[in-house]
Amino acid sequence: MSAGDVLLWVILPYVAITTFVVGHWWRYRHDQFAWTSRSTQLLDRRVLGWASPAFHYGALAAVGGHVIGLCIPESLTSSIGISEGFYRWFAGIAGGIAGLVTLVGFLGLVYRRTTSPRVRRTTTRTDMLTYFLLTVLIVMGCWMTFGHTLFTSDPYNYRSSIADWWRSIFYLDPNVEAATGAPLVYQLHAIVAWSFWALFPFSRLVHAWSIPLQYVGRPYILYRRRYRPASVAREARSR
């Protein structure tokens, strides 16, 4: 295990996780005003109508696929009778569809952002870095799904290698060998992904945590009180 391996497969993940957690705490506490989707739909609705839902729904499906693939150990799925072959086809086809939909939506969004002068002008440096990382992640993700899982005579079983490493990080016992044995594209995907998570709290991506599911259950009209009767206020104060 070289120093480089430790840096990439031990230090980087923990630094990224720390940045992710502390960054979110800091941002949530100090920057509510900029916590928004930063929608540009008002400026230009061209392309957005199909590209944005495609990208977001595709990405949500892809995130779900990652959760299943990385968090559920192979031993668990095989113990309930799901064979590796079946799992591979399921993951490949579902993941392939999600990846393609994400990719097409993402290309549409990039096209719109680069060709619409109004939207281009709203693009910050952080946005550009986010877009760059997303491009790399999505392209490599599709490549892995199609090149290493679906259309190959020798499918790579990431669940018995790099997924073990991913889980081992959270057991605080990083299994570096599980990662270093993976094909290069898997390794690169993982490294870029950690950079992405480190960037996450400082970018517009934070709006992902604000999916307003509570809307389904709340009353339509909300009231707020500015002043409460003194008696109630005193009670709250003494608490």
């Binding site: 005003f33 109004r118 509570q214 809307y215 002043y227 409460r228 206020a233």
Partner: protein, 535 residues
């Protein structure tokens, strides 16, 4: 019965001269900053005309406001909660900025830096969205002011549906009036109901509808959900903004900027007490023509001892109840019944009402060579279809009888006062013919024609002292930072969390006037959530 107070407004359209002073002063105060260039919390539209944003009144296109479902229950016209969440990534009903207009500025610098030349230097228009030159401007604020472009575009006004031919045919003698518009601060606000984040709220004390700038996540459904298109999306901050009814002034007992600066003195501000328990039922009456009376029935009579007792029990301060008795808004909307809500058919129970203009009728008569004598005006009100139908589409969900009734009362007031002042005669017949008493006629005259400042604006101050012992927080405890010399309780960084902004009903929290936090450099809006944060 749950009594709440609402600050409402009435605008007397007969007196609006379309000078846009309200719009300009409002813009200078609230929307003169990046990302808000295209926003006019207050705008003045020429009617007939397309409005701002163009054709905002056409809810078949924009899907704002409420409608009744097949079972007669109230629902958002744009669809239910699940549908909203599913279309959150691209709001199908959101206007594009071009539906308002692309904001621009001019290369003013050119005027002083241009080299000496035979020709005068020109300041070119530049888009405030892209910075690119805009040589072909085809929309702007008040683009169709004073019927500009009307021959080509007047039939695109949604209100002329069904009366287009008549409006067009009589364009040469067209009637025209101005419609100043602000947020309606509705009793049943569909923008609040549309906001998935719960960032929009109605203040319980005075009914002002605001956007919490820190809770807004930019999902944009308030913009499309408001049928009046009076919630705007700031494209720089990514947050929604809207008319605040100048709440810092209202809280201090002062009228809004638009009202204060109105040269025609057309605006009235006052309290209306209403029954919050009856709002939903009033918004759900099956027949659109009943909405006006349903909303009037939600209003409570502040002279009724039972209402007053109930209001006091519900925490409305005594001076507010007194102010509600003197309210010009309640008088014009309920007592004299000359003010009408804007587009009641949107079912939001709007709280900015309008006295319809008599002038289209009068000027049409004068075109025909009549002196506008009330004896002529009465039959004309019955006979003139176009202005009445048009006003009905605007103010009474298409019921012309309501408009005729109001115009009759306004004409009777004029006739009565003319007889009294010009001829020195006392005639009870004119008022009686419009179903009014002489006393009502003369009171109404005082309110509408004399329109003294103190009669137009009856605004009780906010009761800040009800919040907490504010004096301590502001004054005696001004030095009460950690380790400081203050003596009314230690403020620690931990307690800061409770002191933030507004509390939701029932939650603990405190009024945000805490010097420690200001000194701490936290960029915070004031307690009402909106305002400085957008600036």
């Amino acid at each position: 019965m749950k009594v709440r107070a609402q600050v409402g407004m009435v605008m007397n359209l007969d007196k609006c001269i379309g000078c846009h002073t309200c719009s300009v002063t409002c813009k200078q105060v609230w929307t003169n900053r990046p990302g808000a260039e295209y926003m006019w919390f207050n705008d003045v539209e020429t009617k007939p005309g397309l409005g701002y944003p163009r054709r905002w009144e056409d809810q078949e296109q924009w899907k704002g406001g409420w409608e009744l479902d097949r079972k007669g229950r109230l629902r958002l016209k744009a669809g239910g909660r699940v549908k909203k969440l599913l279309s959150i990534f691209s709001n199908p009903d959101l206007p594009q900025i071009d539906d308002y207009y692309e904001p621009w500025t001019y290369d003013y610098e050119k005027l002083i830096t241009a080299p000496l030349s035979d020709r005068d230097p020109v300041a070119r228009a530049r888009s405030q969205l892209t910075g690119a030159p805009m040589d072909d401007i085809h929309a702007g604020p008040n683009w169709d002011d004073n019927l500009a472009g009307a021959p080509e575009r007047i039939d695109q006004d949604p209100l002329t549906a069904g009366i287009q031919e008549q409006v067009k045919a009589t364009y040469e003698q067209a009637f025209m009036f101005y419609l100043p518009r602000i947020c309606e601060h509705c009793l049943n606000p569909s923008c609040v109901a549309s906001c998935p984040s719960g960032a929009m709220y109605k203040r319980e004390e005075d009914g002002i509808v605001l956007v919490d700038q820190e809770k807004c996540r930019g999902w944009r459904f308030c913009v499309s959900g408001c049928p009046y298109k009076k919630v705007y999306f700031n494209h720089k901050t990514g947050k929604a903004e809207k008319c605040t009814l100048c709440y810092p002034r209202i809280e201090a007992g002062l009228p809004t900027i638009c009202s204060e600066t109105c040269v025609g003195r057309i605006r009235y501000i006052g309290l209306v007490l209403y029954d919050a328990d009856r709002v939903e039922a009033a918004a759900s009456v099956p027949d659109e023509h009943d909405l006006l009376d349903a909303q009037r029935d939600v209003f409570l009579d502040p002279d009724d001892p039972e209402v007053r007792a109930r209001a006091a029990a519900d925490g409305i301060p005594d001076d507010w109840i007194e102010a509600a008795r003197r309210s010009p808004v309640y008088a014009l909307a309920h007592r004299y019944r000359v003010a009408l809500p804007l587009h009641p058919e949107f079912r939001t129970l709007p709280m900015v009402w309008y006295v319809p203009p008599l002038s289209p009728i009068v000027s049409a008569l004068e075109e025909d060579g009549y002196e506008a004598d009330p004896d002529d005006v009465f039959p004309a009100i019955e006979a003139m279809r176009i202005p009445v139908d048009y006003l009905a589409n605007l103010l009474s969900a298409g019921d012309p009888e309501v408009i005729r009734g109001v115009l009759r009362r306004l004409a009777a007031m004029r006739g009565h006062m003319r007889k009294r002042e010009v001829l020195g005669e006392h005639d009870e017949e004119i008022a009686g013919a419009a179903g009014m008493s002489v006393a009502d006629c003369e009171d109404m005259y005082r309110l509408l024609a004399i329109a003294k400042y103190d009669d137009r604006y009856v605004i009780p101050q906010a009761h800040a002292e009800l919040g907490e012992r504010l004096m301590e927080q502001q004054g005696a405890c001004g030095l009460d930072f950690e380790g400081g010399p203050g003596n009314c309780g230690m403020v620690t960084p931990d307690s800061e969390a409770d002191t933030e902004g507004f509390m939701l009903e029932g939650e603990p929290g405190r009024v945000d006037l805490d010097l420690v936090k200001m000194a701490g450099g936290r960029r915070r809006d004031d307690a009402a959530g909106q305002g400085g944060g957008g600036a």
